[in-house]
Amino acid sequence: MASDTIKTYRFRGGVHPPEEKLTKSIPVRTMPMPDKVFIPLSQHLGAPAKPIVSPGDRVTVGTKIADAGGFVSAPVHSSISGVVKGIVDYPHPAGRNLPAVEIEGDGTDQRDGAVKPRSNPMDLDPGQIKEIIREAGLVGMGGATFPTHVKLSPPEGKPIDTLIINGAECEPYLTADHRLMLDAPDHIVTGAELMGKILGVRRIIIAVEKNKMDAVAALKKAVLGGDTAVVALAVKYPQGAEKQLIKALLDRSVPSGGLPMDVKVVVQNVGTANAVYEAVAENRPLVSRYCSVTGPGIKNPANLVLRIGTPVSKVIEYCGGLTQDVRKVILGGPMMGIAVWDFSVPVMKGTSGILALTEEYLDENREGPCLRCGNCVRVCPMGLTPLMFARHTQLGAFDRAEEFNVMDCIECGCCAYECPAHIPLVHLAKYAKAEIQARRRKAQG
């Protein structure tokens, strides 16, 4: 099926922040192996992984160092070769110290002996592929870090008819997925087909925003046939949000509180598709990833292949360091990333970008009174009324905030981006959600 025949739709709301894709034409480089890595045991949604190494153990690249801590969990592998120093409490982007495996490198970059390529990946049966994906520690690489094998295991009675590969990369600044689509379109397509095989799906749609037509061309070239299509979508944030992407491609609305599988869809990131290819065909677990190191505060912006566990400070150093006036460093994109203050935090499976913003790019204005202008309502892709849940949250009336559907908020940031009064609407939403969840837990006992 040719991509031209695929009709696209509009999702409501959304904003157009400046794209600022500073690094879009910079080819990817591999950062030299760091001499020490700290690999967190919580890099995914779900239960932390359980360490299976002890201090003094020798590990090589790809050695499993921690096993999944439950069904919704993923194993963790060593990203360098060297010696395990210990399981330490180490700074984590979440803001707390969390357990991480400290590995001191020996500089040899030796690969795990068990890592041998498979010549015939498509001949494996779906169960085998899924097991390989699980063992390789794959998680959603767009940032949500949901374990991939769980997403590929829809429960009985939830048929899937479409697999969407998300290459929208709608966040400003980030270009890692873009570069990956240019470098490895065939890997992405094969990875997608492997996932399609697990799900028993024929129709695969690879969605890319129109500002990356070179990536669209590369992917189209890599598609050999079948029901795989490459679709160019309008440039609008949050085009890459799961529910909005499904709406734009298939005109299906994921019900409130539901998942894509409720409308027969599974969405995976292009980075994940590439990692699936690497895990299945090359037998390589997830130990490194593409990452954009960018922003006005980085001396030499770059797209890098980074090993999981590399301290962010080392990455920044490798890119020439920060400029004097940097006030904020963000892991991920500017719309949904997490700001960090301690740069010893490690690069994780979900770290799609390291962004340094200087004073002039930050929101200088302090919060003012709500003017009821309705901008937040206009741009909300979820059809919510941020001004209402924000007001009730400010008053501590979390039950009223819940009535205004704050739990449906996807925290995309459109409302806060547009608010002329600079009210921290996303922060209030997160706060209300946390409080409501705490109350629900309490009510359950």
Partner: protein
């Protein structure tokens, strides 16, 4: 002129009649006691009793579903009055107040980063655990103040909330709201308190705070009543066992423990003392003197009021009295 007077008066009468009929027709029988009891309750509608506001509790008390003791805010006088109305005994309640187990301004705890966002500790806690260098420390944005229905919390100049023990009725709102869970309700008579909640190891605490508990265990060793224990890297006091002697706070090298009780007590030995010396031998601070077989005396200046001597005395000759009175008496005797 007359016409309008008559029309208006007529209208008024008609409306009054309507109202009168309505009030009869739609009359709902209520227990008078509910109104009276609701009037005796504090009226802050804080909800700490578990009922919807003071009226809710009054209803529950009258219908037998609620206990008077559910309200921690009502005054003793009113509690007795409610008990009398209901024809039941009101149990004595222990007066408790909220205590914040942190003293970050004194410890010089700075910020890790500049926090911009919602001015509420619960919201700030979502951003990397809040800006304070110590992740266990009070964030200081005043959520406890904003949730207090009794205006008992004010923000001190240093950024640490201050609880007014007179106004605090131990409703527990702040305890629930504090995202760091560093507030608890303490009986007013047990006010020797550990003003730190850090579960970090000593070395790490020292890095960020000069008044944090470094879990050196000295307090645990010195306590004569086994009332203080270091659990999870933080000293905790068992209020059942604590006798407010203050020995631990003398030992504490970081000054983390403080006595917030407004008064001190000392031992006093009465006439029935037969000089058995048991008390003198047991005294942990050697403040009891006297020769055997003669009445002993306590130095009220040095006595810490631990009450060990009271336990030791077989003749019930030792009692604890408020220190101010004892010091005055001793001074008078000395002259």
């Amino acid at each position: 002129m007359f016409e309008s007077i008559i029309v208006l008066a007529g209208l008024g009468l008609l409306s009054a009649l309507g109202l009168g009929i309505a009030s009869r027709a739609f009359h709902v029988d209520t227990d008078q006691r509910i109104q009276t009891i609701a009037g005796l309750l504090p009226g802050a509608n804080c909800g700490a009793c578990g009922f919807p506001g003071c009226n809710g509790l009054a209803n529950a008390i009258v219908s037998g579903n609620g206990k008077i003791e559910a309200c921690s805010a009502v005054s003793d006088e009113n509690r007795k009055e409610i008990a009398r109305l209901m024809g039941m005994e009101a149990a004595e309640t222990v007066k408790r107040v909220a205590v914040i187990h942190c003293n970050f301004p004194a410890g010089g705890v700075g910020n890790k980063f500049e926090y911009l966002g919602v001015t509420d500790c619960r919201a700030a806690n979502l951003v990397a655990g809040g800006p304070k260098q110590c992740v266990y420390a009070c964030i200081g944005l005043g959520t406890c103040k904003s949730v207090c229905p009794f205006d008992a919390v004010t923000m001190g100049d240093s950024g640490l909330p201050v609880i007014d023990p007179e106004k605090c009725v131990a409703c527990g709102k702040c305890v629930e709201a504090c995202p760091k869970k560093i507030i608890d309700l303490v009986p007013v008579s047990r006010m020797v308190q550990v003003l730190c909640s850090s579960r970090d190891k000593g070395a790490r605490v020292k890095k960020v705070c000069s008044v944090g508990c470094i879990n050196c265990m000295l307090c645990e060793r010195v306590c004569p009543f086994e009332a203080i224990h270091v659990i999870d890297n933080i000293a905790r006091i068992d209020y059942e066992k604590c006798r407010v002697c203050g020995l631990c706070l003398r030992e504490c090298p970081t000054g983390t423990i403080a006595n917030l009780r407004g008064w001190e007590v000392v031992a006093e030995i009465g006439e029935s003392c037969n000089g058995c010396t048991l008390c003198a031998r047991a005294c942990p601070v050697d403040t009891i003197s006297g020769t055997a077989k003669e009445r002993h005396i306590v130095d009220p200046e040095r006595c810490i009021g631990c009450g060990i001597c009271v336990d030791q005395c077989k003749r019930d000759a030792v009692t604890l009295v408020k220190k101010t009175a004892a010091v005055r008496k001793a001074a008078a005797a000395g002259e």
